[in-house]
């Protein structure tokens, strides 16, 4: 396990990469909304699609979510071992 400095935004992950959610930055409304969708610290996410433009697709807790790039930048993750 690496230290906290290895945190990176979800939007930087490539398709096929898996990671663990560590932190959510952003307003209370945003945090509550994505938390209810399963994006809470400790959750495992897999990036399914990350095109150069437009929203990314992730898999979380068995469901698929499309997230705007702005939103995906506010989710900080750590590579899962």
């Amino acid at each position: 396990m690496e230290a906290a400095n290895s945190l990176k935004p979800l939007v930087d992950l490539k398709a096929g990469e898996k990671a663990i959610v560590k932190e959510l930055s952003g307003g209370k409304g945003f945090v509550a909304r994505v938390a209810s969708l399963g994006l809470v610290p400790g959750a495992e996410v897999e990036v399914i699609r990350n095109p150069q433009h437009g929203p990314i697709i992730i898999r979380i807790k068995g469901s698929y979510l499309a997230l705007g790039r702005g939103e995906a930048a506010k989710v900080l993750v750590e590579d899962s071992a």
């Binding site: 945090v31 909304r33 938390a35 399963g38 437009g54 979380i60 807790k61 705007g68």
Partner: protein
């Protein structure tokens, strides 16, 4: 178990059915996240007994219905589909308010067995509220397909509430669900709900909050729920508590809450941990099973390039189906049914010696109005059916995903594309269809921009008039005019986005549901409700306006040439002159407000020529320059009455509706004047 309060019929006016002798009444609320098959369950339970309206004072749709089972009459309210019960959206507030204030006898929570962890989150929140919960474990077939093995007994034991496995789309488990509801309401079925653990660090604070507020929380709010929501930082509950306690008490409470602003994450995380443990015990998860159906389809459907190709094909198919099936029925209705109805009424009225105005009122005003309403019916039905099918199988979210790149540039949402596309057929269902966009801002902007999409009626006017003014170049000019409209749509969207919303990006968070087989009963009922709601709401307004406009075009002289409408045309003529239009063309434009295709018919009346002769008369009387200005104005003019009434319904405000009318009126004249003066020919 919880006692039976008698149903207070006066509080739920849409439920007017009285129980039969000896029948027991149960009030049931249906809760669940989006994409768990909740509407399928609701449709299975209530069928055609549904009532669709709005939640009081809200533009959120409220569905309720009844279900008779054994000796019970159940009144079922379908709560809005939400992922959680925070104060962040109207839907979530409605759902939790209903359970807290109305205290249904039983809450049925539907979850998707294939995305069990995620969909149990809402259940974790529901268990904090006062009504007992039955879990409907839906989509068991999809879960099995994905390789999940769920032990219902263990899940039931761990949750402490009844759990019913279901495949609602195949009507499996629906009876068992009703048995569980009755068992729970009668106290026959054991009910010992477990609650998610709260983090150790927050336990003392929560305890302290409970102590501080004990005895101060009025009915019907549960103390524990208020305490947790307060800790979550819930804006609505915080305001409520501020009003309930005195200043000193609030000082103590807010001091406690200070430093725990991010508790929401811990609480949500705690719920998910609790769910994780449940699921670990009860569910055998697939180990790298075969690639799922959803994954395989999405390799193409959400691909940056192939996704667009698929969407183009799907949309083409929708167009084709809608017009292949809908248009012949439409013309049959217009030519046979409406025309013979008009003839019949006309001959009857003259046989009875009715005055000419009465004949005009009945034939042109009323039957004409009904005809307009009816003529939307086939196209709307087919479109909603195809649309509903794609929605039900899960494709629509993918189309919204691939279009989001282009849509958000204009301040719209990926989903905006779907109603806008629908607008090419008719703007009315497009406006109604904008309901699928949850973000209010994007929804309003979509409704506002819809009239730029040239509908089939305006295309018909183009097809008739462009050859008159432009001969062989008619096709090019028509295409140019359509592209002009779309370009203006993009520019106005972009401008509105930067002016009103400062170009702020709209958040895009959308679930892509797992694909599954469609349920035709659900689709059929959805289509029926959408079409019926159009006929009821937009239909009555269209009919009323049709009668009014007919009156304006008839009185005081009994013919359109000397009518109020013609007088209005004369008043507006100076403005029309600026764009090269005479008063007759201005009147034609005005009547296109009733229905876009009216423009041609009115020109025929005013230039004293039938449709065939009109072409040559117009060609001589109107210079191409003015003709072009007229076409530009016709394409940008105020949306037709049907669209305006739909807009009024969806915007929920006459003020906004009039603003839209004013905008299109001004834009249309400005554009007409501009092209008249810069037109090179």
């Amino acid at each position: 178990m919880n006692s039976h309060q008698p149903l207070r019929v006066e509080e739920v006016p849409e439920i007017m059915v009285k129980p039969r002798a000896g029948e027991k009444v149960l009030r049931v609320a249906l809760a669940g996240q989006p994409n768990v098959g909740k509407s399928t369950v609701f449709n299975m339970l209530t069928g055609l007994s549904q009532h669709v309206g709005n939640w009081p004072g809200k533009t959120v749709e409220k569905k309720s219905g009844r279900c008779r089972y054994g000796n019970y009459l159940m009144h079922i309210v379908d709560l809005p589909g939400t992922y959680s019960l925070t104060a962040n959206s109207i839907e979530e507030r409605i759902a939790r308010d209903y359970i807290v204030k109305e205290r249904p006898d039983v809450v049925v929570a539907i979850v998707n067995a294939a995305t069990l962890e995620r969909s149990l989150y809402l259940v974790a929140e529901l268990l904090l509220l006062p009504s007992p919960v039955v879990l409907g474990l839906n989509m068991m077939d999809v879960a099995e397909q994905q390789g999940y093995r769920i032990d219902v007994q263990i899940l039931q034991a761990k949750l402490g509430i009844p759990v019913v496995p279901m495949v609602a789309s195949k009507n499996q488990g629906v009876k068992e669900l009703l048995e569980a509801v009755i068992g729970l309401a009668e106290g026959i079925v054991p009910y010992n709900p477990r609650q998610p653990e709260i983090k150790e660090a927050h336990k003392p604070i929560l305890e302290k909050l409970r102590e501080l507020m004990n005895g101060l929380i009025p009915e019907p709010y549960p103390l524990d729920w208020v305490a947790i929501k307060l800790l979550e930082g819930d804006s609505e509950v915080t305001e409520l508590v501020k009003g309930w306690v005195d200043k000193d008490k609030w000082g103590e409470i807010s001091a406690l809450l200070k430093g725990h602003e991010d508790a929401i994450l811990d609480i949500a995380g705690g719920r998910y941990e609790w769910i994780r443990k449940l699921v670990k015990a009860a569910v055998e998860e697939p180990r790298m099973g075969p690639v799922s159906l959803t994954e395989r389809l999405d390799r193409v459907a959400t691909h940056p390039f192939w996704g667009l190709v698929v969407m183009a094909l799907v949309l083409g198919a929708i167009f084709w189906l809608t017009y292949t099936i809908g248009s012949p029925i439409q013309s049959w209705l217009e030519e046979s049914v409406i025309a013979s109805l008009a003839n019949l009424a006309s001959s009857w009225l003259s046989f009875l010696g009715a005055p000419a105005w009465l004949n005009g009122l009945v034939v042109d005003g009323i039957i004409g109005g009904i005809g307009t309403v009816l003529s939307f019916f086939p196209i709307l039905t087919v479109f909603f059916a195809v649309f509903g099918l794609l929605e039900d199988v899960g494709y629509l979210a993918r189309a919204a995903y691939v279009m989001d790149r282009f849509m958000h540039w204009m301040g719209l949402h990926g989903k905006s594309f779907l109603p806008l596309f629908l607008g090419f057929g008719c703007n009315v269902p497009a406006v109604l269809g904008s309901r699928i966009i949850e973000e209010k801002r994007a929804r309003l902007l979509t409704i506002f921009l819809t009239p730029f999409i040239p509908c089939s009626a305006r295309m018909a006017v183009l097809v008739f008039l462009t050859p008159v003014f432009f001969g062989e170049r008619a096709f090019l000019v028509s295409w140019g005019l359509i592209l002009l409209n779309l370009a203006i749509l993009a520019l106005v969207g972009k401008a509105m986005n930067s002016l009103l919303f400062k170009g702020e990006r709209l958040p895009f968070i959308m679930e892509l549901p797992l694909y599954h087989y469609p349920n035709f009963r659900t689709i059929g009922l959805e289509v029926w409700h959408r079409v019926a709601s159009f006929l009821r709401k937009a239909g009555t307004v269209i009919l009323a306006v049709s009668v009014v406009v007919w009156a304006l075009s008839y009185w005081p002289t009994g013919s359109i040439e000397g009518s109020f409408l013609a007088k209005l045309g004369v008043i507006l003529e100076p403005l029309g002159r600026l764009a090269g239009l005479d008063s007759r063309m201005v009147v034609a434009l005005l009547t296109s407000f009733v229905a876009k295709e009216n423009a041609v018919a009115t020109l025929g009346v005013l230039y004293g020529a039938g449709e065939e002769a009109l072409a040559s008369v117009l060609g001589k009387a109107v210079p191409p320059k003015a003709g072009f200005a007229f076409l530009v104005m016709e394409m940008l003019f105020i949306p037709c009455v049907a669209t305006v009434s739909a807009m009024r319904q969806e915007l929920g405000s006459w003020r906004w509706t009039f603003l839209v009318i004013g905008f299109y009126l001004a834009l249309s004249f400005a554009a007409g004047i501009l092209v008249y003066h810069v037109f090179p020919f």
